[in-house]
Amino acid sequence: MINVLLWLPLAFGALGLLLPRRVAGWWAVLGAIATLGVAIGLLAGFDTGNSGLQYTVDTPWISGLGVDYSLGLDGLNVFLVLLTAVLWTGSVAFAALREQERPQLFFFLILVAETATLGSFIAQDLLLFVLFFDFMLVPFYFLFGVWGQDRTAEGGPSASRATLKMIVYTLIGSLLMLVAAIATAIISADGGHVTFSIQALQQQGIGLGSQRWIFWFFAAAFLVKMPAFLLHGWMPDAYRAAPLPALAVFSGVLAKVGAYGFLRVVLPLFPEAAVEFQEVVLIVALASILYGSVMAFTQTNLRLIAGYSSVAQLGFITAGIFALRPDGADGAVLQMVNHGLVVAPIFIIIALLAERTGSEDLREMGGLALRAPVLAALFLIVALATLAMPGSANFVGEFYILNGLFQAKIVFAFIAISGVALSAYYALRLYQRTMHNREPAGLLSREIGLRDGLVLAPLVLCILALAFYPQLILKRTAPTVQQTIAHVTGGGAPEAQLAGGGTRDWEPTLVKR
């Protein structure tokens, strides 16, 4: 079944190349929905209390190199897989509702991207992971470069140039990672049988000296992907060039692969280095939070506001992981899903706004709520979730992250939480400047169409449903997360040790007032 999940999008995409252009889009939607169905089926059969891998597939692939075709689901990735399937369905449907150039190829590429992304989430072999991780980039390279928008008129770069910049950045990271992966396997084998199985590598372990540099090779790849502060140079140009349906999944899902990589690869394989470099990574995370937030509230381009806010949100997620406490990491996993669920609708909404105003600039918008109350309401919910409004699942994620950080490194928590106030401002500003006040002269807005509504509303419903019951995710992810963190901190029963900081002992008194 997990094989079906992985290859179904690719199969649909390939078949779609043979279909006439009119039906290519809807065929792709069908493929995305089928994949979503499989993903839901996998979640339904997921054993909640189990911290180990489920639905495992493990066949030797290149036995000489110790590379296995090894897939599996556990708490770390099960909801990211679901998120991928959900967002791809939404984006593909949104794209199918619009005229695309060379649609067969467009939808083929976007479905290839889904397979690659799913692959990097479920791969349990280090080299397989690296391959999928790099392969993700290829379809997006074409999607951005060919179907993207040239910004030369605005003094920006052309689409191909922006894409090239992105490729250069990410490829450098990827190459470092490839080197690091091979080095890990070889050092770990220590002359014996080489294996790339993440589980086996985790058990074998490698020395602290090697951990130190390999840690940073992997970290570089992941931090570029997110992107984190100082490594985000590719983001503004690429985001402005990208076609919005592709950008929705790119920002919604691909950024999470970076954060996920820390949990899947870095913490299990380089636990001592993770502890050693905890504060360095936390500083990068804090810088991302603050810098992303400050940038987000000074931008006027809608895509860049969303883009920089993602930098800040990914900063929170990284900080949660590197609090190295179960609560922080639980929050991080939850927040990956949450952030994907809010950022993809934002890009869809940006596309809708651009269609109505002919612009992607905040200064040329306003007053849209008047003629589009439903769109405004949907946008408001998304905006509130973006700023982690208490009552949303995003708040729960942030609360867990910050609590973990607070109990681990209190100063970092105090700095990080200022990002919360900033996010309130930029998210609400985004909403208010587009929807409220009076519209610029000559602007005639209109309500969201029924078909676009059917794309956007389910995503918003996901946000609302999670707001009522974030435990849905937490309950299923916690066992694996706890095991991962326990491996790093070396504690046998982290739950009992870490809850409440354990600075005081309690008499088990009856709680009564």
């Binding site: 490829l171 609560d327 008047l370 009552g391 867990y400 910050l402 106030a421 409220h436 309950k475 900081g501």
Partner: protein, 669 residues
């Protein structure tokens, strides 16, 4: 049914009402939203009363229950349930909130009828009440924060309800951001509580706290100060109060709802709820009391000079909340909460009356332009007078008993706390002056043009509605309630709401007369039985002496106002000219807005600009463009292949992958 079941129903109805009116905004016939919205709050009120009756049927010590629906977010040792906590305090708050809110909904049913956003208004209004009920009924700190933030959000939505007004959207944003600052304080307090006590649950936290903390230990002091940050933001206490006067951009029923029954009283409730912690941190409690005192005096002085009718009442609210904060901080829990209740009555009433008058003035809010409404709007002016008397603590009205109870307690506690009594009476004098300044300006005298029109034709003024802040012509065709604004004189529902509140404002104090009866405090006392401060009681005779002083001060204040604004109408202008500096200082609201702008907003924007213009361009981009530049400098190679370069690059990438895959496939077989 148990009390907790009733409590869940109290929460359910407003939420349902909000959702139904929101979804049905196209399908619902006109006015249906108003009926549904009002009905849902009325049902919620009924459930709150049922919960109260349920509690009264139990022995006083056993009147507290917790109940939870499901695990909200409960892993890794953080046990967060969707739970409520029902005791005398929360039920008391729920009854007051739902009761007054129901009346405000009833008023809005008439007042907002000509507004295009009728459904949206009731949806927000219901959600507001739901949020506030969540604050008072929450069973743990996380749910409290959720309700707390919901209140902040809904106030944003309602303040910028007329979203075509730029002043309104700005004011909404200001309220929201300041409230988020308060939320952050609460969140940090929760983290610290969790670190020390290992739980977010009220029952557990309050049971463990006395053993865990020594008095004035820094941790518990820090917790209380962080909570206080939330209190200041939500209850508009110094220095986070600046959003409240601007919040008057919202429709008048919103002002009544935010400033009377809900939102601003949340801080008072929070201090009362966490009194166990504040008792362990007397320093923090004293700081809180002094903040309340400073706010009550500062706001009262500003209310003396502001010419905008609604803003003057808003500053009065700040001032009155100051009294409540002083009360619950120094230990006068019953008195503080009693004042919360009476204030809800008379302040809601004053806003409703102001709303009617503003409607009659075609949205003009400047009291200098108003006069003679006593004749033009008899019902409104009588109810306004009732509210004004209660606010000014005229003998035997509700405010008279509740305010003096706080001051008498401070006197009984003695020592340093006598300051609160003395300055509290000073504040009471100012209160009487500014209240009757408003009343003497608006009600008596020769009718102004609008009032005359009302007397002659019975019609409300039809002037072109302009934004009182900017003079900009309003967008009446679409969202702004046009000339069809309702006034109490014409609408039965508005009259009913105001009449009930007027009765409460006049007679509400009679349930708690020193030496006679003590209904509210007796009911609430068991909640605070664990507090060492609960043992302090002013004697009946001292209470009456205090009441006597209070009565004299109120009368003196009213007399002063009469002398200034009726007997010598030239006197205020002479005073203004004489004390130009002070007057300007007060008129600019002590320059708080400017200070915050200078200290917080401008630096933040400057950092943003720097990041954008300098850092992003030269540092971040430089990392790439630097290398690109080198390549370009090396020769014309790049230019020559630039077009083909990208494509071949990608092809290379794919070819590489394909080759790699092929190799592995062959190698593995």
């Amino acid at each position: 049914m148990s009390a907790t079941t009733w409590a869940w129903l109290v929460l359910l109805f407003p939420l349902l009402g909000s959702i139904v009116t929101a979804i049905g905004f196209r399908a619902l016939p006109a006015k249906a939203a108003g009926v549904l919205g009002t009905l849902s709050i009325a049902l919620s009120f009924a459930c709150a009363v049922a919960a109260l009756i349920n509690l009264l049927g139990e022995p006083a010590e056993a009147r507290h229950h917790a109940s939870s629906l499901w695990d909200y977010a409960s892993v890794a040792g953080l046990d967060i349930k969707l739970g409520v906590y029902v005791d005398q305090l929360s039920v008391f708050m729920a009854v007051v909130v739902t009761g007054v809110s129901a009346l405000i909904h009833l008023y809005s049913y008439g007042y907002m009828q000509s507004d295009e956003g009728y459904c949206r208004f009731f949806s927000y209004l219901n959600f507001f009440v739901f949020s506030m009920l969540l604050v008072v009924l929450a069973g743990n700190f996380v749910l409290l924060i959720v309700g707390w933030a919901f209140v902040g959000f809904t106030s944003y939505a309602l303040i910028s309800f007329w979203y075509r007004r730029e002043t309104a959207t700005k004011a909404g944003m200001k309220a929201f951001v300041i409230n988020v600052v308060g939320d952050i304080g609460m969140v940090l307090a929760a983290f610290l509580i969790f670190r020390e006590l290992g739980s977010f649950d009220y029952g557990e936290v309050f049971a463990k706290a006395p053993e865990a903390f020594t008095t004035n230990e820094w941790t518990v002091t820090a917790i209380c100060l962080l909570l206080l940050l939330g209190v200041c933001a939500k209850s508009a206490q110094l220095p986070l109060h600046t959003w409240l006067p601007d919040a008057m951009e919202g429709p008048t029923p919103v002002s009544a709802l935010i400033h009377a029954a809900t939102m601003v009283t949340a801080g008072v409730y929070l201090i009362a709820r966490t009194h166990v912690l504040f008792n362990l941190a007397p320093t923090a409690a004293d700081i809180s009391a002094f903040i309340g005192l400073a706010t009550l005096l500062m706001a009262a002085t500003v209310a003396l000079v502001v010419t905008d009718l609604k803003r003057a009442i808003a500053y009065s609210t700040m001032s009155q909340i100051g009294y409540m904060v002083v009360g619950v901080s120094i230990g006068a829990y019953g008195a503080g909460l009693f004042h919360l209740m009476t204030h809800a009555f008379f302040k809601a009433l004053l806003f409703m009356a102001a709303g009617s008058i503003i409607a009659a003035m075609a949205n003009e809010q400047n009291i200098d332009k108003m006069s003679g409404f006593g004749k033009a709007m008899r019902f409104t002016s009588i109810t306004m007078l009732c509210g004004g008397l209660a606010l000014a603590a005229f003998p035997l009205t509700s405010g008279f008993f509740s305010k003096d109870e706080i001051l008498a307690y401070a006197g009984a506690r003695g020592g340093m706390y006598l300051i609160f009594t003395v300055l509290g009476y000073l504040g009471a004098f100012l209160t009487a002056v500014y209240t009757f300044r408003l009343i003497f300006r608006v009600l008596p005298g020769r009718p102004c043009k609008e009032a005359q029109e009302l007397i002659d034709t019975g019609h409300v003024a039809h002037g072109e509605p302009r934004n009182p802040a900017t003079g900009e012509l309003e967008d009446t065709a679409v969202v702004f309630p046009g000339p069809e604004h309702h006034i109490a004189e014409h609408s039965a529902t508005m009259r009913v709401a105001m009449a009930v509140l007027a009765f409460g404002a006049l007679a509400g104090g009679l349930i708690q007369i020193p030496g006679v009866d003590n209904v509210v405090a007796d009911f609430l006392d068991p909640v605070f039985a664990d507090s060492p401060l609960a043992a302090i009681h002013p004697s009946t005779s001292w209470s009456w002496i205090g009441l006597g002083i209070g009565g004299v001060i109120a009368l003196a204040g009213i007399a002063t106002a009469h002398w200034l604004y009726v007997a010598n109408p030239e006197a205020p202008r002479r005073l203004e000219a004489r004390f130009r500096g002070i007057h300007g200082f007060l008129l600019n609201k002590w320059y708080f807005d400017e200070a915050i702008g200078f200290l917080v907003v401008r630096p933040a924007l400057a950092i943003g600009r720097f990041a954008n213009r300098v850092f992003e361009r030269f540092v971040v981009d430089g990392l790439v463009t630097g290398t690109e530049g080198t390549v370009r400098g090396a020769g014309g190679v790049v230019r020559a292949v630039q077009n083909g370069f990208v494509r071949s690059y990608a092809l290379l990438l794919i070819a590489g992958f394909a080759g790699l895959a092929l190799y592995f496939l062959i190698a593995s077989s």
